[in-house]
């Protein structure tokens, strides 16, 4: 019995191909049903997101396992295998578990540490489980994967620090202001980028919103969508001091906010800090205002730089995640091995018992009627031979199953006694 995974992801496969091989989450039951023929009825899970398509299986015979899973993809989607074969990766056993753990922990994601993948895998697994496509092995593997992902998320900082510009702006705002709820945001320029940043700020509690634009109509339009207030850009000096956070992204060729504007606003604000986010190119806000006390100015390059630094941090944290996963994979493998010991021992005993009964039957038939006590003595001797013969290997197997070499012993036992036949 082997765990296997075959799939393709954003790392190699082009998006056009991933699109064609995609399984819509709403209709996973049907492909799961069909996949059963390719896994000889073994356990299976289909994971399909916009970045990856993966088939997890628990199959009897490893030979051709990967080929069969690829055949399924080809047959189901009507795409020749040759078309996607170069992009496919196939892992089994330990590597398959490691792959699953890495995927769920978001170490294999396009943006390392993104939080969505866990929910996506959970859903894929839940669908497979409901469809009775999973059993004790994949259940255990996936449940463990979720626990590992949670561990990676809490024990490393893989999910911390914004990796998008607008979210980085929100994080910076929170470094300056404790509570965004009581703060006023001024959005200058009714562009897409400023709207996105404003929406992020609103979702983090900002309630007061002013929108300024050269044409008041567009300002009012965006303001009404964001439940703010539209104001004419020409009157900027009259309301600049009200803003704690200023997001600027106009298409203006010249500066929109000068140092003098900011200085007079600061005076009116009694030096309460202002956070300027200048995402316009060319820039809207005089870069020298950053030198003023209690003024913090980040332009698009600064934010980009912050995002890059954050990505680097995530990469470093990912290395810690890999170490956690390596230990967890080992633990799970050991657990699987131990799980196999008990059935193997039972199997062995049952086989010996069957042989004993057969041979005793033959012997008693040959000997004819025997006194009861002689019969009992012969039966006891047969049992005693079995027990003494099997005692040492069973004890040894149980001992070895605690260590890493357990699998070898188990395989040897199964082979030597032909337990799988």
């Amino acid at each position: 019995m082997h765990i296997i995974v075959a799939g393709l992801s954003h790392k190699a496969a082009p998006v056009e191909l991933r699109e064609r091989l995609h399984f819509p989450a709403a209709q996973l039951e049907e492909p799961l049903e069909k996949l059963a023929q390719y896994t000889e009825g073994g356990e299976r899970v289909i994971l399909s997101t916009c970045n990856r398509v993966e088939l997890y299986g628990h199959i009897q015979h490893l030979a051709h396992g990967g080929t069969r899973l690829q055949q399924f993809l080809s047959d189901y989607h009507g795409i020749p295998v040759e078309l996607f074969k170069p992009y496919v990766y196939i892992h089994h056993g330990e590597e398959a578990l490691r792959h699953l753990f890495r995927v769920v922990s978001s170490l294999d994601s396009l943006v390392v540490g993104e939080a969505q993948i866990m929910a996506q895998v959970k859903e894929a697994f839940a669908i497979a489980r409901r469809a009775n496509a999973t059993g004790s092995v994949l259940n255990q593997a996936f449940e463990r994967a979720f626990a590992v992902a949670k561990r990676v998320r809490t024990e490393t900082r893989i999910g911390e620090h914004a990796v998008s510009i607008s979210y980085a702006a929100v994080e910076l705002a929170k470094k300056i202001f404790q509570d965004l709820a009581a703060k006023t945001v001024l959005v200058i320029g009714a562009g897409e980028m400023s709207e996105l940043t404003a929406r992020h700020l609103i979702s983090h509690g900002v309630s007061q919103l002013l929108v300024a634009n050269r044409t008041l109509d567009r300002a009012v339009d965006l303001a009404s969508r964001l439940q703010g207030q539209g104001v004419p850009l020409a009157d900027l000096p009259t309301y600049l001091h009200k803003a704690d956070i200023v997001v600027s992204s106009t298409g203006a060729a010249d500066l929109v906010i000068s140092k003098a504007d900011v200085q007079s606003a600061l005076k009116l604000r009694k030096n309460r800090p202002i956070f300027f986010i200048d995402i316009a190119v060319p820039r809207d806000i005089d870069p020298t205002v950053n030198a003023l006390d209690n003024v913090y100015l980040y332009d698009i390059d600064d934010l980009q730089h912050v995002v890059e630094e954050n990505l680097k941090t995530r990469q470093r944290e990912a290395a810690l995640g890999e170490a956690i996963i390596a230990r967890e994979v080992e633990d799970l493998l050991a657990w699987f091995d131990q799980q196999q010991v008990v059935p193997a021992v039972i199997h062995l005993r049952r086989k010996a018992e069957t042989i004993r009964n057969q041979e005793l039957g033959k012997l008693f038939a040959k000997l004819g009627q025997l006194p009861a006590h002689e019969r009992a003595a012969i039966e006891a001797m047969a049992s005693s031979i079995i027990n003494k013969l099997l005692h040492a290997p069973i004890v040894r197997l149980k001992q070895e199953s605690q260590s890493k070499g357990g699998t070898r012993y188990m395989q040897a036992l199964r082979d030597l006694f032909s337990l799988d036949e």
């Binding site: 910076l172 470094k175 202001f177 404790q178 009694k270 309460r272 006390d293 980040y298 912050v306 941090t313």
Partner: protein
């Protein structure tokens, strides 16, 4: 007869000596235990800052609490030994200052939940304790024995006031660090461990708002004591003018904050300078 009396006298002296000795041993043990706890707490706080593992914070807080309890016990032993809250030795003064800093720290930590506060304040308490050990143990202060109620009150309030200023010092320091990182466009790294500028600024304000009245009351009770003990509310001399100067410094800071909108970076620098000036003032006042 006389021999008996002498023997009795010797025995009494001996038991007195034993009592003094046991006090001394107890207070050395408690003193060192508190010191040990503060060292542990400082280390755990710094490790927590470096790794941000929650477990370390719990250890740091635990060590700080145990240290504070032991420290309180130590001061109680002192009081029962000397018969008053305070003894006129440098060691006692620094130990008491250290205690007030820990008190202010624990209260501020519980109220604000600024987790990195301990990384700054516990070392200050530790430093004060160590300073007391480094100075000659019998270096007497010009403070007379605290038998007077007014003098005791004066000193307790003034010390609490200064502990509050130690808090503003730490808040100011954290503010400057955070401000510097944000201005340099490097919000990651060390700055990521510090709280937001707004809450640090608020911390500075509230610590100042508590410290100024305490210091004022300390000054007033001191004047009342002076009236009883020395016949006049105020005597201009070497030991009193630093008090007035530092009180003036803090009143100025407070008024600037309250009315003139001094805040942010400049306010942080001002309170830090204020704390240094006041600490110096105390030394001048106490050592004469």
């Amino acid at each position: 007869m006389t021999g008996e009396l002498v023997a009795q006298q010797v025995m009494a002296d001996q038991s007195g000596l034993i009592a003094v000795e046991s006090f001394r041993v107890m207070h050395v043990i408690l003193d060192n235990l508190a010191l040990f706890c503060y060292i542990l707490s400082t280390l755990f706080h710094w490790l927590f800052m470096a790794s941000r593992k929650r477990m370390l914070l719990l250890w740091a807080l635990g060590a700080a609490c145990v240290g504070f309890v032991v420290h309180t016990g130590y001061l109680s032993v002192e009081v029962s030994r000397a018969g008053s809250l305070f003894i006129s030795e440098v060691h006692g003064a620094t130990a008491f200052f250290s205690w007030t800093v820990m008190l202010v720290y624990l209260v501020a930590e519980a109220l604000t939940r600024i987790r990195v506060l301990g990384s700054f304040l516990v070392p200050i308490a530790l430093l004060a304790l160590l300073m007391g050990l480094a100075l000659p143990p019998d270096a007497a202060l010009l403070v007379p024995p605290l038998t007077s109620f007014w003098l005791t009150t004066h000193i307790v309030l003034a010390f609490l006031g200064n502990a509050a200023f130690a808090l503003t010092f730490c808040g100011g320091l954290m503010y400057l660090i955070q401000d510097r990182y944000l201005k340099a466009k490097q919000p990651g790294g060390f700055a990521a461990r510090l709280p937001s500028l707004e809450i640090l600024d608020r911390l500075n304000f509230w610590a100042l708002a508590f410290g100024v009245p305490l210091l004022t009351q300390g000054l007033v009770t001191g004047a009342i004591w002076a009236r009883y003990a020395r016949g006049s509310f105020w005597i201009w001399e070497r030991t009193t003018w630093p008090l007035i100067v530092m009180w003036g410094v803090y009143m100025l800071l407070f008024i600037g904050r309250w009315y003139l909108g001094w805040r942010g970076r400049r306010a942080a620098v001002a309170v830090m300078a204020g704390f240094c000036a006041v600490s110096l003032g105390y030394l001048l006042h106490a050592l004469g």
